[in-house]
């Protein structure tokens, strides 16, 4: 099946905005409240594997974008299911019931972007330790300023301040 045919089949899902990106890659945008249904629809269609959950901070539009990166080994096709959630209230529903591995990806997104996934039981600290600042992958977190405040100075053993 070609990309166009698959895109047409996906477009039958109400509210889906489908775009063929390039060979083998299709982007599907759906409203946030329909995200879970769309994922179930895509899974039934053959996009049965969740490769990763990507998260992008669109700070100008005041939105977070969650990209569920799906792959179909039968059709050799990738689908990016995109939902946008407001930045002020970063909450979304977990996809663990569809793909158990989503737990780890959501745990990471929670830590790095501060998105809360409802019904995910394991949103515990994952990679960072003792982190009390803004989640680091947000665009308004300034890594250089943080580094300057926290680590940067001449070591006292080398003639710097004691």
């Amino acid at each position: 099946m070609s990309e166009q045919e698959i895109a047409e089949r996906i477009a039958k899902f109400p509210g889906a905005d489908v775009e063929v990106l390039r060979k083998g890659q299709i982007a599907v945008k759906v409203p946030a409240e329909k995200g879970h249904d769309a994922a179930a629809y895509l899974k039934k269609m053959g996009f049965a594997h969740l490769v990763a959950v990507e998260y992008v901070d669109w700070i100008k539009e005041n939105e977070f974008e969650l990209v569920y990166n799906l792959f179909s080994y039968k059709m050799k096709m990738r689908a990016f299911l995109k939902v946008r959630i407001p930045r002020d209230k970063p909450e979304y529903i977990t996809f663990m019931d569809l793909w158990p591995i989503a737990m780890t990806h959501e745990r990471e997104a929670h830590e790095m972007m501060g998105i809360v996934f409802r019904k995910n039981p394991n949103l515990t600290p994952f990679i960072l330790e003792d982190w009390k600042n803004l989640p680091p992958m947000r665009k308004d977190f300034d890594s250089r300023k943080y580094v300057k405040d926290k680590y940067d100075s001449i070591p006292f053993a080398e003639g710097g301040e004691q």
Partner: protein, 367 residues
């Protein structure tokens, strides 16, 4: 019996890299495990937002240390897809050559690691020693042993030196000869068989459910490979069949790598044969490095690294640096959740052995 909490790592010789597992043991059987990654976190995804497009490969090759070429190639491919660049034919072959050599050296590291974890130290000495022949080839080609910084968006940095293909073939002949000795010493060794057969069996259905990729998935009988499913570099033109095993235990996972090792040697020979017959010179398209702008959009590119699918999701807003780049490390599926579930019911001595047999690479979980 009383259950005991035990911290396994990060300062522990049985751990692959810098990783930690908190296990609860009853006697010496594991009843609960919690993987603690994050000791190698460097925030690549944030750093890339502050670098130019062309400054990516020198940074990004550090994602998976034993298998550095796959990291830089994955990123380069994502950028090429965004910018619509097609790498010249010879560039593609050189890229595939570095990737297969990288796979060979990563598998040698794997044999050494697994051998060491079950007490076969001779194989560790041999495999690491033989890996240095590949590193010497890399040094000749790229100038570096570990981080080659060779595959850039647009193609490899330069052409192979004169006579390089012959020297590669010589090393391949040597490795093939050595593989027979490995068979005698390692793959048919009673210690190895007893320690790996029927240990930590992964079923095909479980691998599909948990999105395990790479050799671990193929060892369960699931024939997936990014080289076949989403072909890149010179792989569409190369002749190879997927190898699978059915058992899914530690033994199958090691033997899967052993068979793929032979396959990679054959692939390298195919590539060098082709490289000899090609006109030299044209290997890359050079964009203007510092002011190179990439059109808006997003792209995903995946490569089959020695651990599984290593993918890059790159978003561009039309600027001189990525708006967002996210890495899908292969170990994030088999190194955290799968490992935690599979280790339950195993003996304490297999905690490290299972980590090696699954080929968990902590830096690509942490990034």
């Amino acid at each position: 019996m009383k259950e005991v909490d035990l911290f396994f790592g990060p300062q522990h010789p049985g751990i692959t890299g810098n990783f930690s597992v908190r296990v609860k043991i009853d006697g010496d059987t594991v009843v609960k495990a919690q993987a603690i990654p994050g000791f190698l976190h460097r925030g690549f995804e944030k750093l890339m937002e502050m670098r130019h497009w062309m400054q990516g490969p020198p940074l990004i090759c550090r994602i998976c240390v034993p298998d550095a070429d796959h990291s830089e190639t994955g990123y380069s491919m994502a950028v090429e897809r965004l910018a619509g660049i097609e790498v010249p034919e010879r560039g593609k072959y050189i890229r595939a050559l570095t990737l297969e050599m990288s796979r060979l050296s990563a598998y040698l590291f794997y044999f050494a690691g697994y051998g060491g974890s079950i007490g076969l130290y001779t194989i560790a000495q041999w495999a690491i020693g033989d890996r240095d022949y590949l590193l010497d080839l890399y040094e000749e080609l790229t100038g570096a042993r570990v981080y080659h910084i060779f595959n850039f968006p647009g193609g490899p940095r330069w052409d192979t030196p004169e006579g390089f293909e012959d020297r590669v073939d010589k090393v391949m002949d040597y490795l093939e000869k050595r593989l027979k000795e490995y068979d005698k010493l390692y793959f048919n060794n009673m210690v190895f068989l007893k320690r790996s057969q029927d240990v930590a069996v992964m079923k095909k259905s479980y691998a599909e459910k948990m999105e395990v990729t790479g050799p671990n998935a193929r060892a369960t009988g699931w024939a997936i490979d990014v080289r076949k499913d989403d072909p890149y570099a010179a792989y569409p033109d190369l002749d190879f069949e997927l190898i699978t095993q059915d058992e899914g235990d530690s033994y199958a996972r090691v033997m899967q790598r052993r068979l793929e090792f032979q396959q990679s040697i054959d692939l390298v020979r195919q590539i060098t044969k082709k490289l000899r017959s090609m006109p030299r010179g044209n290997v890359r398209l050079i964009p203007n490095a510092l002011h190179w702008k990439i059109p808006r959009g997003e792209a995903y590119a995946a490569v089959e690294s020695s651990k599984g699918e290593l993918g890059y999701y790159v978003v561009s807003d039309g600027g001189i640096s990525p708006y967002r780049m996210q890495v899908r490390g292969p170990s994030i599926s088999h190194g955290v959740q799968v490992y935690e579930e599979m280790i339950v019911g195993q003996r304490l001595a297999d905690v490290a052995a299972l980590m090696f047999s699954l080929d968990v690479c902590p830096p690509d979980i942490d990034r």
